[in-house]
Symmetry: C2
Subunit: 363 residues, 2 copies
DNA sequence: TTGAAAGCGTTACCAT
DNA sequence: ATGGTAACGCTTTCAA
């Protein structure tokens, strides 16, 4: 209502004009250099002087001007986080919020700023590339790359530290952090085997993405090690979506009516599959056990609740930052890879055949 | 693998040492001042000189040093986006990704950077406040405020432009953008009335949040204007979660067994309600029609798909930026409020009593 | 251990 | 229309 006050009265420190290093130096009766040393925690300052300066800093409410500092140190103390996602995963499970939280926490602990970049259009991407290439950030985290994106290569070529979230489809020589999708899938299918299921189908994701093919490999691994036959009729493909899961399930039921379990590459696909199974008169979990992947909130709201594979997404964010910070601070250009392990969260959608059990809220 | 190359060869422009204004001036045979004018699009430059400078800029791949610019202009050309969400909404529907997308797009169009801040701990919040108060950003977007957060007040008192996403619970004199929750709720309940439902319950959200109370008000509005009696037994409360929706539904069934429709304050609550209704032997939508709020992805995966109220979240992000940019550029300190209208998305969960219809995928 | 002074790359004012 | 020249606030040698 009447918020203009702050503009005219001079009581509060003038906006955007905090105390400078010089002011603190005067107040403490020392030189700018000394204040700078104190502020930056240099050991070469006598305890008494340090105390005096610290008091002056407090009295004046001094805060360093980052622009000035950045100008001389040639560091921005900020990292760019680039999220290029058409729309899919972005809006269907809380992957990005969780990842950002993980990244943000680790960045904050290192006093680094998070500059978020979400290009949508082609011009956006060009401006983005120019921005990143001109050294406005100390490093870049790339999150969901299109397969053929030239960005990581360009950045690397310019010597800008880059880490990638999720194994890139192309074999670019960049550091990345990924979830061990293959192992997660293996665990999910082993679980179904241990339940006594023998005709286990998979609804796989797109094979041109590492997540897609890795989860399929894991499925095949588990079948092989259990001595179960590899049957193409039990494999169908989709794009991680509800609709594609439903239609893949229809195909499987048609090709292999004796299916008694389903491992879906995403919870969304699993949900689609469950609705088709029900429509086809199969009971879940009695007739067909179902396991998903992602452990999204959806897994708790389906009926029955969905057994799923949980990924340490926040941790992935933290590791991305650690890798990047190493590259920045220690000028490490070695390519490193981190693989994070998953956790199977059993819920009511997967039990032994023809015998129900109540097992909700497994996580 | 062998990525060290970029470090030693001198072919590419040296990292972090782009051409300076001075270099361009030399190359173009003019003064720094002139180059600066060209770069900043000043009209007071002759066409020929402008062309020469532009060519020099291209040749040298000149990009302005933001730190240097910022140091003299006292502008950071960046805005802080603060998301303080315990965990609730953050992880259960794609509200934040959508909002960030909207914010990011509008910011990019104005060449402003998005600095994302997600404080988790108490110390985090203190550092956050110091950071924002020391003028490192030109303005701040606050997204999901706790009721008693002192942050907006502190920022405003220091003359830092602030806009808030979602009407703040306390009546602080700050600009905000909100969804017209009351009107959305009204539309949802009118829809149920028009279907012929007469015993319409609501599962409300927490009343200490504007979203919660607004949606409840809307429900009451619609009942009143339809001449339907106000019956406390038809009102139950929860916290927007699945579990709380389920338990609220249980209470309603118990207190008012003749309930024939439910308006839930969130899709999650609606999903919880549907599972309870089914367990109680009520058919959805035949016996009880259900409408949710948010139009989250969940609404499409429930069985039956859920009628819901869609909010223009991206648009909200855009408006937040517009308001903020006005405050920054034109030094407008006037408090302004924007209310965004919602849209009812009919799906199969709400039909006329005792008569089924197939109406999925209404969006 | 402390201080003086030289930049860092821009912008903006004042002449011309 | 163009150029010279102070700032802007900080870090970092180099001396003392």
């Amino acid at each position: 209502m009447h918020r203009e006050s702050a503009l005219t009265n001079g009581a509060t420190p003038r906006v955007g004009r905090g105390a400078t290093l010089d002011a603190v130096a005067h107040e403490a009766g020392v030189s700018r250099a000394t204040v700078s040393r104190v502020v930056n925690g240099s050991p070469k300052v006598s305890p008494e002087v340090r105390r005096q300066v610290e008091r002056a800093v407090d009295r004046l409410g001094y805060v360093p001007n980052l622009a000035a500092r950045s100008l001389v140190t040639r560091r921005s103390d900020s990292v760019g986080v680039v999220i290029t996602e058409p729309t899919g995963r972005l809006f269907n499970d809380p992957f990005f919020p969780r990842l950002l939280r993980g990244i943000s926490a680790e960045l904050a602990a290192r006093k680094l700023q998070l500059v978020l970049l979400m290009p949508e259009t082609e011009p956006d991407e060009e401006r983005l590339e120019r921005y990143l290439l001109s050294g406005h950030v100390d490093g870049v985290i790339l999150v969901s790359l299109h397969g053929d994106d030239p960005l990581p290569g360009d950045l690397l070529a310019r010597g800008i530290p880059v880490v990638i979230g999720g194994r890139p489809a192309t074999g670019i020589a960049a550091s990345y952090v990924d979830v061990d999708n293959r192992d997660g899938a293996r665990a999910a299918v082993r679980h179904l085997v241990s339940l006594g299921r023998r005709r286990i189908a998979t609804l796989a994701g797109p094979l041109d993405m590492a997540v897609g093919s890795d989860r399929l490999e894991g499925y095949r691994d588990a079948l092989a090690e259990s001595g179960l036959p590899h049957d193409r009729r039990l494999e169908a493909h989709g794009e991680f979506t509800y609709e594609s899961g439903a239609s893949a399930m229809r195909r499987v039921i048609h090709a292999a009516p004796d299916v008694d379990a389903v491992f879906a590459a995403s919870d969304l696909m699993a949900a689609g599959a469950m609705s088709v199974l029900r429509a086809a008169g199969r009971r879940v979990p009695e007739d067909v056990a179902v396991v998903g992947f992602d452990d999204s909130p959806l897994a708790v709201t389906t009926d029955p609740p969905l057994t799923s594979v949980r990924q340490p997404v926040e941790e992935m964010g933290g590791d991305l930052v650690r890798l990047l910070a190493d590259a920045i601070d220690r000028e490490i250009r070695t390519v490193r890879h981190v693989l994070l392990s998953t956790e199977l969260v059993p819920r009511a959608s997967s039990v032994a055949p023809a015998q129900s059990r109540d097992n909700a809220h497994g996580g």
